[in-house]
Symmetry: C2
Subunit: 320 residues, 2 copies
Amino acid sequence: MINIGLDMMGGDYAPAEAVNGVVSFFNNHKNTPIHLTLIGDKGQIEALLSSHQISSELISIVPTTQVIEMHEHPTKALKEKQDSSIAVGFHLLATGKVDAFISAGNTGAMMVGALFSIKAIEGVIRPTIGAYIPREDGSLGLLVDVGLNADCKPENLQQFAVLGSLFAEHILNINNPKVGLVNLGEEEGKGNLLAQATYPLLKENTRINFIGNIEGRDILINKADVMVCEGFTGNVVLKMAESVYDIVKRRNIKDEHFDRFNFEAYGGVPVLGVSKPVIIGHGISGERAFRNMINIACKMIETELTSKIAGSFLPPDSNA
Amino acid sequence: MINIGLDMMGGDYAPAEAVNGVVSFFNNHKNTPIHLTLIGDKGQIEALLSSHQISSELISIVPTTQVIEMHEHPTKALKEKQDSSIAVGFHLLATGKVDAFISAGNTGAMMVGALFSIKAIEGVIRPTIGAYIPREDGSLGLLVDVGLNADCKPENLQQFAVLGSLFAEHILNINNPKVGLVNLGEEEGKGNLLAQATYPLLKENTRINFIGNIEGRDILINKADVMVCEGFTGNVVLKMAESVYDIVKRRNIKDEHFDRFNFEAYGGVPVLGVSKPVIIGHGISGERAFRNMINIACKMIETELTSKIAGSFLPPDSNA
């Protein structure tokens, strides 16, 4: 049975929305082989669950007494708050008590936890986080990295391309996903030093379907399925796209496509390249986001994405 | 009398739209002390002008026989096509025959021309190009750099902040413009190595009104008037904003604010930090864009922006 750990204390509306997400998930998945381990304040969680009919076989509660607040320094907080829901969640994940861990709490603490509690897959220089990008044709693309790695080397971007491709293939169900290098021009040779040096690495990499450079104007259309850049540009681009949704809402524009710019709806972003599935949610995560994060975690486990990534990063002599 | 040089052969709809822009400018500026020097194919320009009543005192034509096409290599084309409208335009500017030069032609050739024909203002390490960003309150901000400098040092970004502030103050009429450093987080200390090293320089610079880091979500609102970043991120952000307008149009959304995302309407982007006013237009420039570019050039000349920039970059011992 798949066992997913969920931080019930993370996010602006915790634990109420986390509980709603759990209820919603089970309402949408009857007779599922999923068990959820709810990590957090036992009293609060039980009180909120009491009005819902969820079989006790489907859930268990791991009580914690501390919460890492949004503003806290990640490393310091993780160290000092050993009984926080995030610290306990990573402990459960590292010791194999759960198969995946989800939190909408302190993003920095989630990243530090992912990198240091469960470590990178062998061969992965730097794990990364990607974000879904809605395209006009209704499909989703993946922008990677969106903030975990602000400074990158060409080798990092090349690995992000491989990690993103595997995610797009197995989780987004895109066959032979197209990889584009985010750049300031289309032609080979364009770009800053990083992009110029990354281009030939992507071009020569036989594990990905590299289609060349893509420009800012191509990000919101479906030119490439996996859009690769360092985390600085990716973060600025993602947050600007999020703000377009806010503007659309403020201006009372009703449009199906721009509704899909509600990034909250997608749940969280996966940490790619670490040895177990970790999903980091948006602080404003609500019921739908929590349900979606549980779905993504399930899919990552069911498709054995982590093993597939590990296989892809085996050193060449291991392929013999 | 102010004399502005205009490349009539640049842009996708040249020379017709350039002529329309000239006509429109004079229709909107009766009794103006502006003289326009039209550079390009004399026969074509005269034929297009023949149906309009423009006093011969207001315009003169400098005939050229060559055109640098959009796809040509900038340096090579400028060298080989000495009688192209762009090469002639920069020659007129460099020799003082015109006070400003405008073209919607080959962007690379315009940049190379600006950097090598008329040179940077003393003290300016690297000139830069900025772009207008429409904000929800109806005002315009300036994003700088948007592609001329893909790789930057902290000192470059600091100078872009000063150049952008002077432009915002004198051309956009923003009093004490707020300067924001585009970054992936709000707090001091966040960012890639470049942003981290730039922050203290901006904080200590008494010539600008630095308000701290701004995130991607702040670019389209009026948090900062001058938004500073290297040209890689700026270019991706600008082109993504441009694509939002395309999406809005494709989806038949009628909205006053998103109509202002039609970047073509603003005319061109000024090259800041060179010794004379140079404006680079969008390839798709139409009548309105050409008219607006002439307006910006006039304002840059009338406000003596270039001299103000030069004064601001005087070495400290010259201030005595």
